[in-house]
């Protein structure tokens, strides 16, 4: 295959995996989803418009494939969090263990529409417009999903204001980084 295509595809793999894990909550299934995405993409490479965003194109294929196939299976592996935790190489230094675990659990409880919007905009670095195109919906819909996702996350984590992060969290952060 074209060297440029190959590099672009491989370059997108790390973030495709991160997105896939956030969708299906299980690393092995996420990797299968990425593999199926790459096979589909390369079989249909002629429909990719050169000069447009390869990453967004692959995200769209992955997301649609997940919607049509994987979501039917309804996250049947619900020990996903433990599995996910195992896959993590390191605990992010600036975030306490407890808080990080709470966050992952809260994220997993979000409705899928809200979770994918939040991840695309808040972590994958797509614009609202790109996220809307990936999800096949209006820009305003993405914005409202992201807002609702944030509010719901804060509720699930019992955070009503910045105070809740309090000195305890700050101390942990200092301890974690000051080692």
């Amino acid at each position: 295959m074209d060297e440029q295509v190959r590099n672009a595809v491989l370059g997108a793999v790390p973030s495709l995996r991160a997105f896939a894990i956030s969708l299906c909550g299980n690393v092995d299934r996420a990797d299968d989803l990425v593999q199926e995405t790459l096979l589909r993409a390369l079989a249909n490479i002629d429909s990719f418009q050169p000069g447009t965003n390869m990453s967004a194109w692959l995200f769209t294929i992955l997301r649609n494939h997940f919607r049509s196939e994987y979501r039917k299976r309804r996250r049947e592996v619900e020990d996903s969090d433990g599995h996910y935790a195992e896959s993590l190489k390191s605990q992010p230094a600036q975030i306490g263990q407890v808080e990080f675990t709470e966050f992952r659990e809260a994220l997993a409880q979000l409705p899928p529409d809200q979770r994918e919007a939040l991840v695309l905009v808040g972590a994958s670095g797509f614009s609202y417009e790109e996220a809307a195109s990936i999800c096949g919906c209006a820009v305003g819909t993405i914005k409202s999903r992201v807002n609702r996702a944030r509010t719901r996350l804060a509720e699930l984590m019992g955070i009503d204001s910045a105070d809740e992060f309090g000195p305890d969290q700050a101390t942990r952060a200092v301890l974690a980084s000051g080692e």
Binding site: L39, L88, G122, D160
Partner: protein
């Protein structure tokens, strides 16, 4: 700890789903964003697992065959 601010998420729980949720403070949004990115980047930093480079090599090797 202490008092919950007036604009707490709690005041909005009754009207879920109208898309006009209470505005979270900047600090809370920043903190949530930081955690989300930390989780995401942890996977990104694992790079490209071998199975995917192997997959592309296999596709390249089979280029003349049916790769679908």
């Amino acid at each position: 700890m202490g008092q919950k601010p007036m604009e707490s998420a709690q005041t909005n729980r009754g009207k879920k789903g109208d898309g006009k949720s209470a505005k979270l403070s900047r600090e809370v949004q920043a903190r949530l964003g930081q955690q989300l990115r930390a989780m995401y980047d942890d996977v990104v930093n694992q790079g490209v697992p071998e199975r995917f480079t192997e997959l592309l090599n296999r596709i390249d090797g089979n280029l003349n065959k049916d790769t679908q």
